[in-house]
Amino acid sequence: MLKYTVNRLLSTIPVMIIVSIIVFMIVHLTPGNPAYLILGEDSSEESIAQLEKQLGLDQPIVVQFFDWFKNVITGDLGQSIYSSEPVLQIILDRLGPTFSLMMLSMTLALAIAIPAAIFVVWKRNTIVDPLFIFTSLLGVSIPEFWFAMLLVLGVAVAIPIFPVAGYVPIVESVNLWFYHLILPAIVLATVEIGLIARMLRDSMLDNVHQDYTKTVRAQGIKESMILMKYVFANALIPTTTVVGTMVAGLLGGAIIVETMFTIPGIGQLLIDSIHRRDYPVIQGVVLIIAGIYFLINLLIDLLYTFLDPRIRYD
């Protein structure tokens, strides 16, 4: 297992290099001179030259990449063109809300998806199953932003219980934090519920007719117990990888949901920065999101080996 872990960690290095190149290329893919693009066509020669120097655009591209890469490794993501603050600091300030939103939606999604999947497998020979397939497919077909709009319309405007905008840090007030985040979290969770519950169901159905289930059934153990303990434990292993996919969905969805509910997270920061053409911040956010996603997937992979005794002891 140690060998596997080391290998897995080593394999992250080339991936991180690729990620850096992609992020670096964001600025350099822009047609024309990025400095013009940032400052506008009618800006003065001097300010262009100054920005070019600031961004290192006067250097050959390979040199630019290595300079940038060196800075990134030391935690220097550059400065925001818009506010002149260090990018890393701007992003760190915005991580809290995004993280809160993701944790809350993930908890919500798992709390609904897991019992739902178990229930569906339990009632697999009834109308429940096709109905579930239908609903989960419908769930993944709804655009998050549209669902958010409906929710705002239905809950917040017609019955104004929950706020439709804003954010309160958890350290200030847990209640207000929850109160502000619950609607956005529901929106984010909805799509994910369909996905995870479906994958769990498929995976559990694969296990229901395995020989070891027959063994416990022959021992007279209750069907509900068989599903909840034995089948679920086996289905959980492949499903951990699903959580990785889920994080991707949540990170992508957070960009939209934060913008809609004006939650000051990194998603909103990204969209604002795109509109402001604040390229260093765009690069920084993309890099950080990719980093978080990558890290979580790494953790899941390692967790996977821990959950499956067949790998753990080899």
Partner: protein, 284 residues
């Protein structure tokens, strides 16, 4: 694959939507672009089935016309990322030496949630239909490449491939005549799902204001405009949204149905269901 009623129904309805939007100018009762300030934000009625928007334009007409862009982006992205992803996956799964480099690049691209990768690319390239197609293709091909690669790896060890290699069959023939037909199922299924995802992503990008030119009617653009009127003119938001849900849902149903129809393993589960139906009928 057309045996299942569900697949036939979803394909037919999708075709109908396509035909309806392509022939829209011949049969629409109102012009999608005719502005009439006197008819701003009208509720749905017999004249304006879906109501009117903030410029007094017919929402029904705009929803129908918008399908053209959304479906176009969706199908082109689906086809392009299927071709690109399949090619990379085939080469990577077959030529083990090229595999390492290609898979690291794919892993690197997969390290971005696809919407983020698309956003970043659109931010760099600027928003136009072509750029959105390029961005989404880049965002969705890595998943396809992964799926194709693992399918190739599975089949590469099968004896008839070995036999073909030993008898000196050329790589191209092995790849496209022997391997590809055997892994076409996951490709078709995934392609259908990409179609669905691309429509959602295009709508999201347009909604966020970084997508298709806001003057072109797309579902995402319409919803972007509708957002501020959500409480006074909910129909403005509801109908274009329903159009997205309906179309994407059909595609997802189709993808799911194709997987069942084409995948022998899943087939068992399906037929069990129809079997149960028969049993129930027999009992009653």
């Amino acid at each position: 694959m057309f045996k299942k009623k569900r697949n036939v129904v979803s394909i037919s309805v999708l075709c109908m939507i396509t035909i309806a939007t392509l022939t829209a100018s011949f049969w629409l009762p109102h012009s999608p672009s005719y502005i009439d300030p006197d008819f701003r934000l009208l509720e749905p009625s017999a004249t304006y089935w879906f109501g009117t928007d903030d410029f007094g334009r017919d929402i029904f007409a705009r929803t129908v016309v918008a399908a053209k862009v959304s479906l176009f982006v969706g199908i082109v992205v689906a086809v392009a990322s299927t071709l690109l992803g399949t090619l990379i996956g085939l080469l990577s799964g077959y030529y083990r030496k090229a595999d390492f480099l290609m898979m690291r690049v794919i892993d690197g691209m997969l390290a971005f949630p696809s919407l983020l990768l698309a956003l970043a690319l659109v931010a760099a390239l600027g928003g136009s239909i072509v750029n959105i197609i390029v961005a989404l293709t880049f965002a969705f091909s890595p998943v396809m490449a992964r799926i194709v690669r693992s399918a190739v790896l599975q089949i590469n060890n099968v004896q008839y491939i070995d036999a073909a290699k030993i008898t000196g069959t050329s790589d191209i023939i092995i790849l496209f005549r022997y391997i590809l037909p055997n892994i076409i199922t996951p490709i078709i299924v995934q392609g259908t799902f990409i179609f669905a995802k691309a429509i959602l992503a295009e709508a999201a990008l347009s909604f966020l204001g970084v997508g298709v030119d806001p003057t072109i009617p797309t579902w995402g653009n319409m919803l972007q405009e509708a957002q501020i009127y959500i409480s006074i003119a909910p129909w403005f938001s509801i109908f274009p949204g329903l159009a997205i849900v309906f179309t994407v849902f059909l595609l997802n149903i189709l993808g799911d149905g194709l997987r069942d129809a084409l995948d022998p393993h899943a087939k068992k589960v399906k037929s069990r269901k129809s079997l149960l139906k028969k049993l129930k009928l027999a009992k009653s």
